[in-house]
């Protein structure tokens, strides 16, 4: 299987600090791929480079056979990569539905067609009943779901999820995990997620990459990763000891 997303020796420095240090990995089409690591490990920087929000200093980012490193965020999205933000950023004064309509309009000319598609996604993410509310009035878990719906509306081949489980209660986490699984199975969308909630990672990911101080220290199936001594020491130590 060829990789949908391929990173080769990608690096980013902020002044003296090396945030991401020659990280390489491949994400296969249709995979559920998780990036984990302690705070400050460079996960979000890595994400921002894939999404076009940050320009990498070195290395190559190839999506669907095309280099996307350094492209602006909107161009990356039009090529089929959609993202959510760690600190959610819905369009606050717009209705929940209109938030998703904006995303759906990326590849649709007609507002009506976009609205139909938006409603379909809102049903899938349990937001249909709240579709007329202002996005600013939603609770955090709902806003996280709205971010996912809006990103999905752009019709991505690769969905980048930045800590969509953070702040959710365990039942809400399970619900989100089920929704993402379902999406992945039914639409074939590839999902790359940054996650702290190990319960979600274990339940969801088919493959895990571990970052520590900007360096990829391990990659593999989740069961293997949790037994990896380097990972246990740097990140999971307290949990599995």
């Amino acid at each position: 299987m060829t990789a949908l997303l391929s990173l080769t020796a990608v690096s980013k420095r902020f002044r003296g600090l090396v945030a991401v240090d020659r990280v390489s990995f491949d994400v296969a089409e249709g995979a559920l791929f998780a990036v984990i690591g302690p705070n400050g490990a460079g996960k979000t920087t890595l994400f921002n480079m894939i999404a076009g929000a940050t320009i990498p200093d070195d290395g190559a980012i190839v999506f669907a056979g095309e280099p996307i490193g350094g492209l602006p965020a909107d161009a990356v999205c039009r090529r089929g990569v959609a993202r959510t933000f760690q600190l959610v950023r819905p369009f606050p004064a717009l209705s929940v539905e209109d938030n998703v309509v904006v995303g759906a309009l990326l590849h649709r000319r007609s507002v009506d067609a976009a609205r139909d598609h938006a409603r379909e996604l809102l049903r899938r993410l349990d937001l249909f009943d709240k579709r007329r509310r202002r996005a600013a009035t939603l609770t955090l878990p709902d806003r996280k779901r709205l971010e996912v719906a809006r990103a999905l509306a752009t019709g991505p081949r690769l969905l980048l999820l930045d800590e969509v489980m953070a702040g959710l209660r365990p039942t809400e986490t399970d619900r989100m995990v089920a929704t993402l699984r379902e999406l992945n199975r039914e639409t074939g969308v590839t999902i790359l997620l940054i996650e702290h909630v190990m319960r979600a990672v274990m339940a969801l990911a088919s493959r895990v990459l571990v970052l520590d101080h900007g360096v990829a220290i391990a990659e593999g199936a989740p069961e293997a990763i949790v037994r990896d001594p380097a990972v246990v020491q740097s990140y999971l130590g307290a949990e599995t000891a």
């Binding site: 909107d74 369009f91 904006v102």
Partner: protein, 337 residues
């Protein structure tokens, strides 16, 4: 055509349609009922409603604060007036030249700002700077008589000449009424279309807008050029209604400020706010003027102070403007709010 009408009326309740119909009827018959002075006041109101709507495309829909919109009206006024006085070109043809000139000017300002990341307050300052360049530049531009002013021939006309825009205030009233309605329809169509959704997304959160694939530079350029082109019509109207143009007046920052007071007081980003704001503000200001005159008081600047007080009251009491508050009370939905 049916889809056009459907888009225009989609989501509009029967009651809202009735209100709009009644308002339209009242505006159509107004010149027959009121005297010439009131017609002139109504012209001023509609002029500000029109420019407010044009400005709203940039600030209300796209979130780009322009404090120099006088430049687009001024360019429109000068282009059409110069073509008319020098070559006898009718104003409607003049408009065809004025719109691209204003749009091009908007595109230059937009390009400089959006390409080099000039945003927020700095963008507003840039728009003021350009309007000031124009004011000082036209003050020294001999081809349009520089600071001495450009005058259109004024004569008593036996009949109204709509083609050459020479005639009675009533004729001008209907012209600006038609233009205001056209601008309202245009804004409604824009804001309920793809481009409108993208504008709102940019207004709400530009980075998030980019993340859903919107080429924010391109859509901001659309906003500034469309807004500038629409505003230029107001300038053409101004030139032919007032028959004289002075750079110190038409490009003055007070002109830009006056254009934005209507939407700010009525409700930024709403379709009806600019119209309501222009009505409220101008009628109150005119009443104040009449009252002062009746009392035999001559207070220069009273109107400006009054605008300031109105602005303070609205900003403090109804920060979103009068219209969103009213619309909520009467259960009316404004497509753009």
């Amino acid at each position: 055509m049916s889809t056009f009408a459907a888009r225009l009326t989609a989501d509009v309740s029967r009651r809202t349609m009735l209100w709009l119909g009644a308002l339209f009827a009242a505006l159509v018959v107004a010149p027959w009922v009121v005297n010439d002075y009131f017609v002139t006041v109504l012209i001023l109101i509609l002029y500000l409603a029109f420019t407010g709507q044009a400005w709203n495309i940039m600030m209300g829909f796209t979130g780009q604060l322009s404090l120099g919109h006088a430049i687009y009206a001024g360019l429109g006024a000068y282009v059409a007036a110069a073509l008319f006085t020098r070559y006898g070109v009718a104003p409607w043809f003049g408009l065809l030249a004025a719109m691209p000139v204003a749009a091009a000017c908007g595109a230059v300002i937009g390009f400089l700002a959006f390409r080099f990341g000039v945003t927020g307050v700095y963008f507003a300052i840039l728009t003021i700077a350009f309007a000031e360049f124009a004011r000082i530049g036209f003050d020294h531009l001999d081809i349009v008589n520089a600071a001495a002013g450009l005058f259109l021939p004024v004569a008593q006309y036996a009949h109204n000449d709509l083609w050459r825009l020479r005639g009675s205030p009533t004729m001008f009233y209907y012209v600006i009424l038609a233009a205001t309605i056209a601008a309202f329809v245009l804004c409604r169509l824009l804001i309920t279309s793809r481009i409108g959704y993208f504008w709102l997304a940019i207004r709400e959160d530009e980075e998030a807008a980019r993340a859903v694939g919107i080429d924010t530079f391109r859509y901001k350029m659309y906003a500034v050029t469309i807004s500038a082109a629409v505003t230029s019509f107001a300038g053409v109207f101004y030139a032919f209604f007032y028959n004289n143009l002075f750079p110190e007046q038409v490009f003055n920052i007070s002109q830009s400020i006056q254009m934005i007071l209507g939407p700010v007081i009525g409700g930024v980003g709403t379709l009806f706010g600019p119209i309501l704001g222009a009505f409220v503000l101008t009628s109150l200001a005119e009443s104040l003027n009449s009252a002062l005159t009746a009392m035999g008081l001559d207070l220069p600047g009273a109107e400006q102070v009054f605008y300031g007080v109105c602005l303070l009251v609205v900003v403090a009491a109804l920060p979103e403007g009068i219209w969103p508050w009213l619309a909520q009370r009467f259960g009316i939905k404004d497509a753009a709010s």
